[in-house]
Amino acid sequence: MTVEPAATRLRHQVPLVVWLVLVWMLLWGTWSWANLLSGLLVALTVLILLPLPHVIDGTRVRPVPLLVFLGHFVVDLFTSGAEVAWQALRPGGVHRTAIVQVQLRADSDLLLTLVAEATSLVPGSLVLDLDREHRVITLHLLPVRDLADVERKKAHVLVVERRLVRAFGSAADVAALEGTRREGVPAP
């Protein structure tokens, strides 16, 4: 493990401490200074005993694209829940399924994790594999009607990725995304 400037380390650790303290406070359910201090103590103990690699390098949070993503995500969540529920109930049993690979463009641990989490919860897809090095995500699709439907669902993964990169990506990530779009690579 390389030694890094204290400032960098602090910048990486502070959001994690805030999150851990927040979880601690939510678990207790009430606001008090005692909860805040004990939460801080627990968070720092966790961070010192279980150090994690950084994943938030160069990440921004943009409020408007974040709201766009969340809005679509909630809608997707409902439609996918209803769709799979219908598949489970319909008398004819399930449709055909498919396993596909999609070439992603985001190149950061955090963004790829978010894409994988989001695609698992939105219509039709389940993550089978994520190749970090080549940025290829492998998905199981259910249900698919025909090959055109498969293509449509693959395109949808890229749309989810674009929304996420716009919401959380660094300036370089967004530029890379727009760059590939201008070259005419999948732009659904």
Binding site: W28, G81, V84, A85, Q87, A98, I99, E117, L126
Partner: protein, 135 residues
């Protein structure tokens, strides 16, 4: 006002419970492990979320609501991870109904075991210990 809140909470709880039921039905009715994992993630997560919303409306006090928010957040974070791990193992062990697959772009990339332990389906290709998975 309270009557309206009660109706909304009632609708959320009922819809959530129904979705969890379909998730259970899906686990029984779907043909292979990968399809079952769909049932285990989507309707189930949505069902839990709706139950949480209903409970948050019905229960008094913010303390409970915060707790339910945490449950919902962790449900959404962890369900895809466990489903992914189980699916991954299922694919490797060839518990996949190939006749239902329209396309399989993952095949031939060395992600399936060729050493069997008696639990592989009938349409698995011949055993070949020389092929190492994960290559």
């Amino acid at each position: 006002m309270t009557a309206l809140a009660d109706v909304v909470a009632f609708a959320c709880l009922l819809a959530g419970a129904a979705l969890c039921l379909t998730a259970g039905l899906g686990l029984v009715r779907f043909p292979d492990v990968l399809s079952r994992m769909h049932a285990g993630t989507k309707p189930q997560v949505l069902g839990v979320l709706l139950v949480m919303v209903g409970a948050a409306i019905r229960l008094d006090g913010w303390a409970n609501a915060w707790m339910l928010l945490l449950v919902a957040a962790f449900q959404m974070l962890t369900a895809p991870v466990s489903a992914h791990l189980i699916s991954r193992v299922a694919y490797r062990r060839r518990h996949v109904r190939r006749d239902l697959l329209l396309v399989d772009e993952f095949a031939g990339t060395g992600h399936q075991d060729r050493v069997y332990e008696g639990d592989e389906p009938g349409d698995a290709p011949p055993e070949n210990p020389a092929v190492r998975p994960g290559g």
